[in-house]
Amino acid sequence: MAERSDTEEVKLLGMWPSPFSRRIEIALTLKGVPYEFSEQDITNKSSLLLQLNPVYKMIPVLVHNGKPISESLVILEYIDDTWRNNPILPQDPCERATARFWAKLIDQQICVAAMKVVGKVGDERDAAVEATRDLLMFLEKELAGKDFFGGESLGFVDIVATLVAFWLMRTEDLLGVKVVPVELFPEIHRWVKNLLGNDVIKKCIPPEDEHLAYIRARMDKLNIKSA
């Protein structure tokens, strides 16, 4: 009988409402990798988190056989390098570079612009909406003629872009600001429907009601008006 210590030990330090944490769960689930999830409280950081991610002290942190990896895009690539079934990144180097480019755009620019939409008011919010839409147009064009960014199946950019589908787009319902209207972004809306038809996505994204309640509570705490 195999000893417990023979099996891979995979642990994820994360937070249930975090898009960065959820994308790791999507990747592990896609690959059929069993893992232990450890819910973290970043307002009261555990000594484990501080020990495993001393540079940023943030989630997600993946711990594989005792060795920690931080930064969600780095973790996603690590998962893809380690468990080779159901590849997340394409094989071709040019396509890989393109996927990495879009992922970076989403995390470093779209995410930042979207946070400004939530955090600002009046003219500043309008400007943030414009900026977010300009960036999203690139994703809109990228989706033309494809079911997913990855083509016929989920890939790296789809996993990273769940931030748009299930965080930005859920927040806009609560803010009463349509950042991603279907008239301007029909491909993105079509892609979200495709995502919702995928079992792994359905399993791994935060349940809608609880998620909306959480976002609403956070907005109240930050004195942001909810619709």
Partner: protein
């Protein structure tokens, strides 16, 4: 059929230097095309429509944007000589983590050392030194960040080394006093042919900073 490799770049860019170094490490012949960032060429706008920024690597007509993405691409396309990333997944992840750290942290604080005044400049200098110290402790007593071999993390950081004397001059501080091991590392890397070919002289950068300040409207 020979590969056609074009690099749209700007000589003082520490980001462009990364891609130059990676191509040189792999002995890839490339057509270096200097860009005027204040009068952007049609090819730059066409090949990087999202950011309109350099460096842009154009390989057989197809563009690759973002310097660290280019370094990884170069490693994947020309794997035979001088591997830039480790083959072990965990070591690769560590390299990418630190490359990302350098991207997120170094430029912003470094810029304040010459681009800001008074308290803002002092705060920038302090942060910049802290970040370098973090990197220096990561380097430890190793020859390069990856150990025995020159690679991705070294490439990510070394371009900034060509700007160090300018930071010191305009920021009025000494990097070597705070981070001697990092300076020693910089000197070691600068002896490599790929780096020597790709980094401009510090003097040239020092002469360039006042011109850059004027462009940005900084006094």
């Amino acid at each position: 059929m020979a590969d056609e490799v074009i690099l749209l770049d700007f000589w003082p860019s520490m980001f462009g230097m990364r891609t130059r170094i990676a191509l040189e490490e792999k002995n890839v012949k490339f057509d270096y095309r200097e860009q005027d960032l204040w009068n952007k060429s049609p090819i730059l706008l066409e090949m990087n429509p999202v950011h309109n920024k350099i460096p842009v690597l154009i390989h057989n007509g197809k563009p690759v944007c973002e310097s660290l993405i280019q370094v990884e691409y170069i490693d994947e396309v020309w794997p035979g000589v001088n591997p830039l990333l480790p083959s072990d997944p965990y070591q690769r992840a560590q390299a990418k983590f630190w490359g990302d750290y350098i991207d997120k942290k170094v430029y912003a604080s470094a810029r304040l050392t010459w681009g800001a005044k008074g308290e803002e400049q002092e705060a920038g200098k302090k942060e910049f030194i802290e970040i370098l110290k973090t990197l220096e402790s990561k380097l430890g007593d190793k020859i390069y960040f990856g150990g025995e071999t020159f690679g991705y993390v070294d490439i990510a950081l070394i371009g900034f080394y060509s700007w160090f004397e300018a930071y010191e001059k305009f920021g009025n501080f000494s990097i070597e006093a705070e981070c001697p091991k990092l300076i020693a590392w910089g000197k070691r890397c600068a002896e490599r042919e790929s780096v020597a070919k790709s980094l401009p002289d510090s003097e040239k950068i020092i002469k360039f900073v006042p011109e850059l300040k004027k462009r940005f409207g900084i006094e």
